[in-house]
Symmetry: C2
């Protein structure tokens, strides 16, 4: 038995087997113009016989890699599942392959790394990225950003209707008679006013609605800790007070899970309303039964991918898709304030 290194089969091997030029083989696999039926048959037979697969690296060097990157801040975030599912759906049936790029810490490194010739385009969820930097980046590689409220020139955006969604939450809670409503959200960096992140918008709506309801002095914003323990502690402390909140408006479902854990730890399950955002599969689970805002994550992912594909077709003017937000009322907020 030969220890022969299994050197992979190249386009030259196929060309030789089929008795044609490399260029001809290239044309066939790219479905390019100028191929006779007879040649196509012969080349395809040779490809099948040899089990030839084009090298992505070689392709990418001159043409395209047929890979799209989807950069995600953290794989564990439930919302990501929806985005990924949608993007995958949109990419299915095209020659493109979706790869996920988890960003460790800041997204810049990951984004640049992806752009270094490995992918033809990038979908990114990176709320904290500097707009100027992004514009420059998007000049180099096609980009679609998810969850940004800015109006860029060089890339597309897909974003939820955070104003509508947050208002729906506040409508709901205020309508139930809640006054001590606390907003549990991401750390300050993610919610800086005017930063255009979804969470900054939701926070602003919270403040506004509290103000117009005459509840300005009851406004309370609690930041989520990166550690679950920290968030839990903050929540417990909050709930230990005499004037404890009767409702918690959480920035998204994962945060809401922490809130629910805190409420449970304080022995107050069912006595403090909790709402989430994103309507993840967890929210629908009977043991969680979380009121949440459905912003069509799957649709968002699909739209983002579709937009990116359009850009790869040549479109350059920026486009923007705003997903509708719909409140899904469930048990976690269902009890009217006693």
């Amino acid at each position: 038995m030969s220890i022969a290194r299994s050197r992979s089969v190249t386009i030259s091997d196929v060309a030789q087997t089929a008795g044609v030029s490399r260029a001809a083989v290239s044309k066939v696999i790219r479905n390019a113009y100028g191929v006779s039926p007879a040649m196509r048959v012969r080349v395809e037979a040779a490809i099948a016989e040899l089990g030839y697969r084009p090298s992505v690296a070689a392709r990418a060097l001159r043409g395209s890699s047929y890979r799209l990157a989807l950069e995600i801040p953290w794989v564990g975030a439930r919302f990501m599942t929806q985005i990924v599912e949608g993007a995958q759906l949109a990419v299915d049936g095209t020659p493109y392959q979706l790869v996920l790029a988890p960003a460790e810490g800041h997204a810049y490194g990951t984004l640049e790394s992806m752009a270094d010739g490995m992918v033809d385009g990038i979908i990114a969820i990176a709320p904290l990225t500097d707009p100027e930097w992004l514009e420059a980046f998007a000049a180099r590689v096609p980009v679609v950003m998810i969850g940004r409220h800015d109006h860029p020139r060089g890339y597309d955006t897909v974003v939820g209707d955070d104003v509508g969604g947050a208002n729906a939450v506040m409508d709901h809670l205020l309508g139930l008679g809640h006054r001590r409503i606390v907003h549990l959200t991401e750390p300050e960096t993610v919610t800086a006013p005017g930063s255009g992140t979804p969470h900054s918008v939701r926070l602003q709506v919270y403040r506004d609605r509290m103000a117009t309801a005459g509840l300005s002095d009851l406004v309370e914003v609690v930041r989520r800790d990166d550690s679950r323990a920290g968030t839990l502690a903050a929540t417990r402390e909050l709930l230990a007070r005499d004037d404890r909140p009767t409702a918690i408006f959480a920035g998204h479902d994962d945060i809401a899970m922490d809130a629910l854990a805190g409420v449970a730890a304080a022995g107050l399950t069912g006595r403090v309303a909790v709402t989430g955002y994103d309507d993840t599969d967890l929210a629908q689970h009977p043991l969680i039964d979380l009121t949440s805002v459905d912003q069509q994550g799957v649709e968002m992912g699909a739209r983002a991918a579709t937009m990116l594909l359009e850009r790869l077709q040549g479109r350059t003017e920026p486009r923007r898709h705003v997903a509708t937000a719909t409140l899904r009322v469930r048990g976690s907020s269902g009890r009217v304030v006693s």
Copy 2:
């Protein structure tokens, strides 16, 4: 203002700016032998000045891409979060970048696609892949498989102690006095006897333990449906029977979530014991409080990545890591059978 296409800066530009050859620049960025301190300084200055970044495609064509792929069956699976986190940890600090490849349907296409020159090595979670095919595949690109009980020649494996874990679950449930224990698991394809998948092993242990406990005629295996609704219906039907099970041993935590939903829908919450597997973050949530088996997912991911890095260093003999399995008893199974 120039509409100049921002052609990215190449190694030639750097070489020209620094007044050296391309080969010299290449040596510097690869930290290769044969570089004087003086030249290094000049080259690095030029790199910084021009903002040069090596093209991954060009690198991959000749050398390596410095990318590792982690193929995952479904992004939504909670267990994946642990694996990814661990792998990322192990890769941090190395020149390698981790990319995630979601497999749509069968893994073969995704794996081949990744191997087509885009990555230097592959970590895969693909229980259903044919061993022979895998051996051939692994001859082409370094591979580490997660969750396979076979003993391959050409690739490494990281697997949990499914025998120990499943036995711990059965010990626990039998010890609590349960007799009508049903096993809720994946579809048959994933649990075929002798297939070596974790779920086939857990199933076998379940059967064996039921048999040795003299409960052979109470053995009941329910298959999970891909659709949540289907699983829910099956569970409800199960629980509607007169001789309904008093305990459900679920194949993993996501399945256990379905089981809990079914139990809740039947109005039996707290009266049917449910156990999961993987000890995901959900299991630890107070509202779920799921007894589960901790098989150190993070450690498994890290070990897989480390093994792959070793292979890239030149190791060829196959290695195998078996993660210990520890039962974490929580409320979902805590009540002794009445």
